[in-house]
Structure formats: C-alpha cells, structure tokens
C-alpha cells in the first residue's frame, strides 16, 4: 500500500494516486510537485503537495 494514501474527501475510500505534476503557482516561485488522486469508488478528485 502507498505510504500515506489519500482518503477520499467525499466517501472516505482510499484514493488512487495517478499523477505527479510540477505546478508553477506564481511567477516568482520555481514550482512544486503536486500529487493528483482520484477515487475509484465515487470519482472524486483531490490533490496535495507531493510527499518526500
């Protein structure tokens, strides 16, 4: 099981981590990698800063 799996904010099931993407939030920020998760139960999406 993935370390610190995300739980769906809508139904509570374990979400699937399907993408890591570099996001440039602002012109003066180099950017950070964000994890994207999707729920196999209800289809909800969520994201968080990538864990080390």
């Amino acid at each position: 099981m993935e370390k610190d799996a995300m739980q769906c904010p809508r139904c509570g099931k374990t979400m699937n981590h399907h993408a890591d993407k570099m996001i440039h939030w602002a012109p003066d920020v180099c950017g950070e990698v964000v994890e994207f998760h999707s729920c196999p139960n209800c289809g909800a999406a969520a994201s968080r800063k990538a864990q080390a």
């Binding site: 993935e2 994207f36 196999p40 999406a45």
Partner: protein
Amino acid sequence: MARLVATEVAKRAGVETDLIDISTMPLPTNDAGEAIKDKSFASMMDRADGLVIVAPEYNHGYSGLLKHVLDSCLKEYIHKAVGIVGVSAGPFGGTRMIENLLPVMRELGLVTIFWDVNFSNVQNAFDAKGALVDTLFLQRIDKFLAELVWMATTLRYGREHVKL
C-alpha cells in the same frame, strides 16, 4: 458551431454534456489564474471526464478570453481528455489556433486526441434556415467524438485504478 457540436455530443449514449459559453462568465481582468476561479465553471471541470473546446482563430492564435478562462483552473484538468474544434472565417478552419493551443493543453494536464474538426468559411456553414450546409461534417464530428469518448473513458479508468 458550439451548439451543433454540443447537440452531437448529447446524442451519444452514456454521455452527459453541458454547453459552456465563456463569453457569459463574469471573470475579472485585473487578475488571472486560479485566483479568479469561478465556482460553477470549476465544478463542471471537476466533474467532467473530457472537454470539447470549440474556438475561433484570431490572428493565427486562440483568443485571450479562452486562455483566461482555461487558466482559472488546473487540478480539475489533470489526466482528462480534450478535443479541439477550430472555427474560422477563412479557409483553414482554425488549424493554426489548434496547433497553438496544444502546448497549453499539455501544460494544463489535459490529454489531446488526434482528431480535430475544422470549420472553415464559417459564415457559409449554415443555410438561411439554420441547417448545416455540408452534412459530411457530421461524420467528421462523429469520428472526433468517438475518439474523445474513448480517451475520456480510458483516462477515467486510469485516474481511478492505475497507480503512478
């Protein structure tokens, strides 16, 4: 053109669709990006598995308004499918607009399909009664939508079940 394409999308079994006219969205112009996110639009992007962008070509490119709207979301687009329909008054049917928009799609995390639809000389596309003059476009739209639905379905499965 957008209404025509939306009508064709709505005919497909198992597909729900909404037509969004971005000219009616009340977005400010003194800021950009996710700072100006519109709740209703973001909610629809979040719910969607795929997008059809029907857009005109302005000066060999896409409109600033389209970019402004697209930039208001980001996480809602990741690993979702997009197909682009170009519209022009001239002979090229928005081809240059589509080619310019593809890198933007990539950076937004959207996955493009290899079918386009190009409506050239759009001022002559419909007759006086509002009917499409060249009905061969419907076949092209059908191919386009078949590929888009396939990609949207595949990506949804991927988002929900295929681990990175």
